[in-house]
């Protein structure tokens, strides 16, 4: 959002010898409309949505008006049953993510620090990473039965593969020159590992964690829809659809979207804080 302003400053800073014609150029005082641009898209979408409903282009039984949906969303999240389902989904996603991260990051870093070890399991990781995790739901049903653990387990599995892959590649692709610099200063293999490789892998690890939390959320919601479930956003969406309670369904879909978006933003902020040198 601050990109336009920095672009405006950069050329001025570089072109030091050239002085602007002092007349006529006043500093821009007008309202920074550019900052409102991100809200334009959603606004247009809501207007189209509203017009479509009002004009009766889509039956009201399939698409509720946006205002009613928003009201359902807000009242639902302000202590209604939607909040309970929301909380359950968040908790399952968090559990799945934590398992994936706690097992995946150290394993990925270890595998990455021995390229031969990684090559020997690379095919397995790539194969299961390419397999849609939802295709494995029946397999997990056999192992864990229709339970809460099942949903967390399959989401953790899918997220885990992403984490391992990214952490391992982070270590494998560590800047060779930093490793050399540590080596020439007399660092042992262990010191190179803990002072250089782990740090070098942090940024790709964060990319992995961010993709992993999205993946965990997707699988949790799919699992809630199709593995006999009593709670969760997935269950709520399917339930509302079956009885054509479209307001509730759209509210649940929107809240799932908001959840995914918020998780992504949280990870972006955390990455910027922790991997402060990234991109510099």
């Amino acid at each position: 959002m601050d990109a336009p302003s920095s672009e405006a400053v950069a050329p001025a800073g570089n072109a030091a010898p050239w002085t602007a014609p002092a007349v006529s150029v006043a500093p821009p005082r007008s309202f920074p409309w550019g900052k409102l641009l991100p809200f334009l898209g959603p606004l247009v979408l809501f207007i189209i949505w509203d017009v479509v409903v009002r004009a009766g282009l889509i039956k009201a039984i399939l698409l509720p008006p946006p205002s009613a949906t928003i009201v359902t969303l807000v009242t639902g999240l302000a202590g209604g049953p939607l909040l309970t389902d929301f909380g359950v989904t968040v908790w399952r996603t968090v559990q799945a993510f934590l398992i994936a991260a706690i097992v995946g990051v150290p394993l990925g870093v270890l595998l990455g620090s021995s390229e031969r070890a990684y090559r020997s399991v690379e095919f397995l990781i790539d194969f299961f990473r390419s397999t849609p995790s939802s295709a494995l739901i029946p397999l997990f049903l056999l192992i864990f039965g229709v339970s809460d653990i099942n949903k967390v387990a399959i989401a953790a599995f899918g997220a885990f593969l992403i984490v391992v892959f990214n952490s391992a590649y982070g270590v494998i692709n560590a800047r060779k020159q930093r490793v050399m610099a540590a080596k020439v200063m007399g660092a042992s293999r262990w010191q190179i590992f803990k002072d250089v490789l782990i740090w070098e892998s942090l940024q790709p690890t964060f990319v992995g964690l961010r993709s992993a939390v999205s993946m965990a959320l997707v699988i949790v919601i799919v699992a809630e829809m199709f593995i006999g479930s009593e709670s969760g956003l997935g269950h709520r969406i399917i339930d509302a659809q079956q009885v054509l309670n479209v307001k509730s369904m759209y509210a649940a879909i929107l809240s799932a979207g908001a959840l995914g978006y918020a998780l992504n933003v949280i990870f972006l902020i955390a990455e910027k804080r922790i991997v402060h040198w990234s991109g510099r």
Partner: protein, 272 residues
């Protein structure tokens, strides 16, 4: 790989080790290095004098950086022996300054911790590290904030910091691989002076790879001119104008003739 004719290999007499002249610090004997099956160095012998700056200069692709990387152990050698005052590399404290300072410093550490890193690794106490840091800051006359992260500093400041890091543990030898080529001219002049000052103070043996002939001669006690590959020594020129050398040195007849002679040898080798 199994050596099928091991007996024959064992029959080849070992070349006797010839020590360098008095004052030699690094002795290189029979150095051999292949790249993609072609010899880059073959039975290469070289003596690097102690407490001098040796500039390495030669045609493109002759392996100037490879030479100091092999001596400093960054690249493995295929044969030969390299000794530092008779000791192996493992027993020798060295410093290395990379051309690309951005990828040589650790951006997750503050600049001061980067500089102190080799000391911390030697297991020095907090007090010893602090004292050495103060010495370094004084001798480099540092004007910027070392508590910043490296990426917050200018290129010249980052390279100053990496030179400080290389010198922090008081190494016996410092290798510099085109340390100025990523810097602007103003910064190059400044750091060149600092480097010379520190050399006068400490008398540390230095090997400098440079692609700028003026800079190579200006800093050097000896200019090591290399041939095209397979690389041999074309000539070793001595240049012993007194230090500190200054901008005035650049117009001294002795400097100009040393530079001219280097250039002639260089051109002869490039055309060969």
């Amino acid at each position: 790989m199994r050596v099928t004719n091991a007996a024959v290999v064992a029959d080849v007499p070992v070349r006797p080790f010839v020590p360098g002249a008095p004052g030699t610090h690094i002795t290189i004997r029979g150095l051999t290095k292949y790249f993609a099956g072609w010899p880059l160095y073959e039975n290469f012998d070289l003596d690097i004098p102690k407490a001098k700056i040796v500039s390495v200069f030669g045609p493109n692709g002759c392996g100037k950086s490879t030479l100091i990387n092999m001596i400093s152990g960054l690249i493995p050698i295929d044969g030969g022996e390299i000794l530092f005052d008779g000791k192996s590399l493992a027993e020798t404290k060295i410093g290395y300054v990379f051309q690309n300072y951005r990828e040589a410093m650790f951006p997750w550490m503050r600049t001061i911790d980067n500089i102190a890193y080799p000391l911390v690794m030697e297991g020095k106490s907090k007090a010893e590290v602090d004292r050495r840091m103060q010495e370094l800051v004084a001798s480099f006359d540092v004007k910027f904030d070392l508590n910043r992260y490296p990426y917050e500093l200018s290129g010249g400041q980052q390279q100053t910091a990496s030179i400080m890091r290389a010198l922090a543990p008081k190494p016996e030898v410092v290798f510099l691989d085109e340390p100025f080529s990523a810097l602007d001219y103003e910064m190059t002049l400044f750091i060149r002076e600092k480097l010379q000052e520190v050399f006068i103070q400490s008398g540390t043996t230095m090997m400098l790879v440079s692609h700028d002939l003026e800079e190579a001669v200006y800093l050097a006690d000896q200019i090591l001119l290399l041939t095209k590959r397979p690389t041999k020594i074309a000539e070793i020129l001595k240049y012993d104008d007194p230090r500190p050398r200054t901008v005035a040195t650049l117009s001294e007849p002795s400097f100009i003739s040393a530079k001219k002679l280097s250039l002639e040898i260089f051109q002869r080798e490039v055309r060969r």
